[in-house]
């Protein structure tokens, strides 16, 4: 299996992602978006960064790059696709996941550690955790506020597709624990199927035991897991 880490002009978390996947023993390859996906692609990572300089809206240009049609086709075939930060913005802009990530409530770029609570542990991305478990993950974004229409949010909740919500270290969902004003404290969600997920925090930055905590490791390990029904 090879996880294709798609690099766009302005991606800057692609190498961190590769190093984390290497450490997990998950074969991976950084792929320049204009080259298209390799034939043996069995997973796709849309990494963080500032593709196309965040022009228009973060992720808007990359979401419409030709390679994304290939990513969507694989996603429909059940291939795991994970979007992190700028990759999450791309996922929503490409309509692979619902809603939108837009300007933080603070109107500032925020780079800090936050806590998220695992809302659904029955997915490949969260199977390493218990439901209700609290993870400490870094965020680094200016456009991370999750916006979604009320009816689509209700649909996400009814279908148990919210993966992570910003929480206090004790796992309480409060306004104070919400770093960017996201609707319902949502930090990460599933697409229409369990193989597609996006989140704003950076699991690849907390995945190597040599440099600190490894709270994010289990999320990336999702590439190596079989489908878990949501």
């Amino acid at each position: 299996m090879t996880v294709a880490i798609v690099r766009f002009g302005g991606s800057n978390c692609d190498r961190d992602a590769a190093r984390a996947l290497d450490d997990l023993g998950i074969e991976n390859e950084i792929v320049w978006h204009e080259d298209g996906l390799p034939a043996d692609t069995t997973g796709v990572m849309l990494p963080g960064g500032f593709s196309y300089g965040d022009y228009l809206r973060a992720g808007a240009m990359a979401a419409r790059a030709p390679i994304m049609a290939e990513v969507k086709a694989l996603a429909e075939d059940g291939v795991p696709v994970l979007g992190i930060c700028n990759g999450a913005q791309m996922g929503c802009e490409a309509s692979m996941t619902p809603g939108a990530f837009t300007t933080n409530e603070s109107a500032r770029f925020q780079c800090e550690h936050v806590h998220v609570r695992v809302e659904n542990a029955d997915t490949r991305w969260t199977a390493a955790y218990e439901e209700g478990q609290v993870l400490e993950l870094p965020i680094a974004h200016g456009e991370g506020r999750f916006e979604i229409t009320d009816d689509r949010l209700a649909e996400l909740q009814a279908e148990n597709r919210v993966l992570f919500r910003y929480a206090t270290p004790d796992g309480e969902i409060t306004a104070e624990a919400n770093p960017n004003g996201s609707t319902d404290n949502v930090a990460g969600i599933l697409g229409e199927t369990e193989n597609v997920a996006v989140l704003m925090p950076h699991p690849e930055r907390v995945a190597l035991a040599d440099i600190g905590p490894t709270d994010g490791r289990g999320i990336l390990a999702g590439f190596a897991r079989a489908t878990v029904s949501p």
Partner: protein, 83 residues
């Protein structure tokens, strides 16, 4: 074919928080201006050639649908003028 300029204005749907507008309003108030509220919008002026105004408008509308606006958070308007 006639030359047109299509103007696409993209704004946040009412009810969607606009932190940049709030910050801008606060800065204006700090400068001593008196205002009740402020909204911001992105405006795109697109020069194009089309058989008539209707087809120029429909092409610009498709541009808004497919890229310029994000339907989750935006409303947009399109107007067309001969150039």
């Amino acid at each position: 074919m006639t030359a047109y300029t299509a103007t696409v204005t993209v704004r946040l749907k009412s009810g969607v928080l606009d932190p940049e507008a709030t910050t801008t309003q606060r800065a204006l108030e700090r400068l001593g201006f008196d205002l009740s509220s402020l909204r911001s919008a992105d405006q795109f002026e697109i020069d194009l050639e089309a058989a008539d105004a209707a087809s120029a408008e429909s092409r610009a509308t498709e541009m808004a649908e497919r890229l310029l606006a994000n339907p989750t958070i935006h409303d947009y308007t399109v107007s067309v003028a001969e150039r």
